[in-house]
């Protein structure tokens, strides 16, 4: 789901542009570090491949068909940093040349699909890859689509695009269906690729830090869920404090939120320090 320009409110698109720009720079640096010269054309051609593979229709059940979205497939084949970079390149081209997604909304679309979507795919592949490979790839495809779609829906709702309850639940149902389709298609495509040459698909990394991957995936899904809940019931905090928060302007609220995050980060950091000191003592 590509968000066009004109849908997101200024604070939403501006924040996501500011968040996505350095994140893409970081991803590009990582991809550059991991990539040998001969992989540079490969990344580009894989982007073109995803574009083309989206044209192939998959029959899924009677009368319905879907197509590959490709985020999870790229993650499994190229690794997370390169997959993120390729998806970002695709989104830039779609926004400018194919009128699919807006230019100011590019930060939001990159965040939803190239960053959060790839993160969900990578973490699920890493978490469950050792236990059941096909299951992990299915989860990677399904969760990446679900994450991107729910984030986009949340951003639209936070921006004040009106939506009745019926439409909201209908779109959630649609997301679940397309997420399951993406999972099935990704598993099928990876199997077909492996039949041709098993070396093309990297195996899941050794599960040295499964807890970290599990916690990170849980955190990501919590953020997605939180975004949805916050967008449906934005007055929750007001109800808690019993006073209107809306009287303050959005920079003030943003600063308040950032200060809160900084405080939580400081607490976690201190906790970690104490724990590691106790362990080394």
């Amino acid at each position: 789901m590509h968000i066009p320009d004109g849908f997101l409110s200024t604070p939403v698109w501006a924040t996501l542009d500011v968040v996505s720009a350095p994140a893409v720079a970081w991803v590009a640096r990582r991809a550059q570090r991991d990539t040998q010269d001969h992989r540079i054309p490969l990344l580009g051609v894989m982007g073109a491949f995803v574009f083309a593979a989206q044209m192939v229709n998959f029959p899924v059940g009677p009368g319905t068909s879907g197509h590959l979205v490709g985020g999870a497939l790229l993650t499994v084949v190229l690794g997370p940093a390169a997959a993120s970079l390729v998806l970002t390149a695709i989104l830039v081209l779609q926004a400018l040349i194919f009128q699919d997604g807006g230019v100011l909304a590019l930060g939001a679309n990159v965040f939803n699909m190239a960053l959060a979507g790839v993160a969900a795919a990578y973490l699920s592949y890493r978490l469950w890859g050792q236990a059941s490979r096909s299951g992990a790839i299915f989860a990677a495809g399904a969760l990446s689509v679900m994450t991107s779609a729910c984030l986009a829906l949340g951003q639209l709702l936070i921006s004040g695009v009106p939506m009745t309850g019926g439409v909201f639940w209908a779109s959630l149902g649609l997301f679940v269906v397309s997420a399951l389709m993406e999972g099935a298609i990704t598993v099928g495509a990876v199997r077909a690729i492996e039949r041709l040459n098993p070396a093309w698909v990297a195996g899941p990394q050794p599960a040295s830090s499964r807890t970290v991957a599990g916690v990170a995936l849980a955190a990501l899904l919590l953020v997605v869920l939180g975004t949805l809940i916050a967008s449906v019931a934005p007055d929750g905090i007001q109800r808690l404090t019993g006073q209107g928060v809306d009287s303050t302007s959005w920079p003030q609220r943003t600063m308040g939120g950032l200060a809160g995050i900084a405080m939580i980060f400081a607490l976690c950091y201190l906790g970690g320090k104490l724990k590691s000191r106790r362990r080394s003592a």
Binding site: D37, F49, A192, R195
Partner: protein, 233 residues
């Protein structure tokens, strides 16, 4: 499908085509930001933005209907939400939603229809966009139609062999797998061709054209026009 019509448009020679890509990209961002922050009630402002775009398209000697048709690709999505907004009783907002998304698409299209891909990617690179991202964008664009055509041929071949009767999920995954394999081999071939032509890990761009007074004037005019409409109307 061979050559995107935008490619042909972008090789024009009007004064708008000759402006520096950096000036055009900056003007696009100003236009989009001003458009995005316009209140729904200011309907005259939207008309003024549309007139500004029409003047620009005319001075670039591009077909206005062709551009509008391509920009209209966004309308199915925005019309759905505009209808929802209209039902919830906010007519002005519904109108603004459709207008904003259409005008934004039109403005972005105007940039790529007057600037070749190498132009706007060079502008992005001069603004410190990661080089790796620029490289990938250029490669994706270069091979997009090559691989899409291959996919199309494979689909026809499958249909000719009776895929519509027997084909199913397995056939589609097989198609994607073979397409993947061919893309991978093509990438190998491309790399070796690049090495044979002296590639040493980076592309040497042509010396960038200097930023002229006319470019600065063009950007200032766009900035002044957008701000005037935004504040006055």
């Amino acid at each position: 499908m061979h050559h995107l019509v935008i490619d042909r448009w972008s090789r024009g020679s009007s004064s708008l085509h000759q402006r520096d890509p950096r000036a055009k990209l900056a003007a696009l961002l100003v236009f989009l930001i001003v458009l995005s922050t316009t209140r729904p009630a200011a309907q005259w402002a939207f008309a003024a933005y549309a007139i500004m775009l029409i003047i620009a398209v005319h001075s670039a000697r591009l077909p206005i209907l062709g551009l509008a048709g391509r920009a209209a690709l966004v309308l199915p999505f925005s019309a759905t939400f505009a209808l929802l907004t209209w039902w919830s009783g906010d007519t002005l907002r519904a109108l603004a939603l459709a207008e904003k998304s259409f005008l934004s698409g039109m403005a972005a299209l105007l940039l790529v229809a007057t600037t070749p891909l190498t132009g706007w990617t060079a502008a992005l690179e001069s603004w410190r966009a990661p080089r790796m991202l620029i490289l990938v964008i250029q490669f994706v664009y270069r091979y997009l139609f090559v691989i899409a055509e291959q996919a199309q041929r494979m689909r026809w071949a499958a249909v000719c062999r009776g895929s519509h009767k027997t084909g199913g999920f397995r056939l589609a995954t097989g198609l994607v797998g073979v397409l993947f394999a061919r893309s991978w081999q093509r990438a190998d071939g491309i790399y070796h061709a690049m090495l044979a032509r002296g590639f040493r890990g980076r592309f040497v761009p042509a010396a960038p054209a200097p930023f002229r007074a006319a470019d600065a004037l063009f950007f200032s005019a766009c900035l002044a026009g957008c701000l005037a409409v935004r504040i006055l109307l």
